[in-house]
Amino acid sequence: MKILPPTQRTNKRYFAFELIGGNGVDRSDLLREIFSCAGSLIGDRGSSECNIRLLDFEDSKGVVRCLRERMDMTRAVLASVTSVNGNPVMVHVLGISGTVHGATKKYLEGCTVYSPEEKP
């Protein structure tokens, strides 16, 4: 299928985040947790409006995509994630960008994930 012309595409925002306490959590676990939190907080209708997508997730760092108009709602969903596989975690948004490239380059490259167990 032909791709949409640029003016017809929706505007998106990309959240770069770190998953604190998320050692050994893989993408599918986190994805399941995010969607279940989205389901309980804003319901199926709200989730569909937000258009949440977990793009990449590696080494407790990742990028979530959402609709530009639903940034606050998506951020609230990410804040309501409390545990994955029974372990307490926290999603900490490091920055927001208009492109995946920007989000990865600006906020994720070279950043080490904070761990409360280790002394700084």
């Binding site: 709602m73 951020r75 609230a76 409390t82 904070y114």
Partner: protein, 243 residues
């Protein structure tokens, strides 16, 4: 414009919560707060130490728990001199009323009762007169699920409407009892939009309102009332200037 400094005036640490004071402080610092107040429950009987280092303030506080409104005034008097931030554990109509009628109280935490939001026009008006801030507790949006979260959200909506109408100061707090329960200021602002709080209001509730409370509790003995303060001459200081 300078970046706002964010404060969370309701954090519990060990032995009240699961994480130690150091863990809480380190996490809050990482998340971008400029200061927190450690408010352990008064019935757990331990006052944390306050400290201030390298731009991060830790205030000594207490969350007073009382089942009897008339006794509350007594323990408020007892703790007022000992701590900087004096918060009251709300959730009962009588306690809420006693808290908002006492100008020595800084914050009323989670006023929601099982039946309703815990505030009405009368209480909101006295909270505004006595400058008692109402705290919106983010833990009830993060940790709860289902019906209880729905109730919290609708109570927050009602409280916000009253706070706007009567000009009551309000705060956003994490009320976290372990370090993973904290959320970053921007995340809290996003959560606050869920019950209709505007961005500007959320910013005020996280930075200016708590800063105002801290200023108020830190003012010295020379303070008489708003705008009136005794200024003493300091002879040693004057000499120092002459040289």
């Amino acid at each position: 414009m300078a970046d706002p400094v964010f404060y969370d005036l309701c954090v519990h640490c060990a032995p009240d919560g699961k994480s130690t004071q150091e863990e809480m402080v380190a996490m809050a610092r990482h998340l971008g707060f400029g200061g927190i107040a450690l408010t352990n429950h008064s019935n757990s009987d331990s006052l944390p130490k306050g400290s201030s280092d390298k731009g991060f303030e830790v205030l000594r506080g207490v969350e007073l728990v009382s089942s009897n409104p008339s006794k509350l005034h007594g323990i408020v008097g007892k703790y007022r001199k000992k701590v900087e931030i004096l918060a009251v554990h709300g959730g009962d109509e009588g306690i809420n009323r006693a808290a908002v009628e006492n100008p020595n109280v800084d914050i009323l935490l989670h006023p929601g009762t099982p039946k309703g939001c815990g505030l009405n026009h009368v209480l909101a008006k006295s909270a505004s007169d006595n400058n008692v801030a109402i705290a919106f507790d983010m833990a009830s949006l993060i940790m709860l699920r289902g019906g209880r979260r729905v109730h919290s959200l609708s109570h927050f909506r009602e409280i916000l409407a009253l706070a706007r109408k009567y000009d009551v100061p309000f705060l956003l707090t994490n009320n976290a009892s372990f370090s993973y329960g904290l959320r970053a200021p921007r995340e809290m602002m996003a959560l606050a939009t869920l019950f209709g709080m505007e961005r500007g209001e959320a910013l005020m509730a996280l930075s200016e309102t708590p800063a105002e409370i801290i200023r108020r509790v830190r003012r010295g003995n020379n303070f008489i009332c708003e705008g009136v303060e005794i200024l003493e001459d300091d002879p040693s200081g004057m000499k120092g200037e002459d040289k």
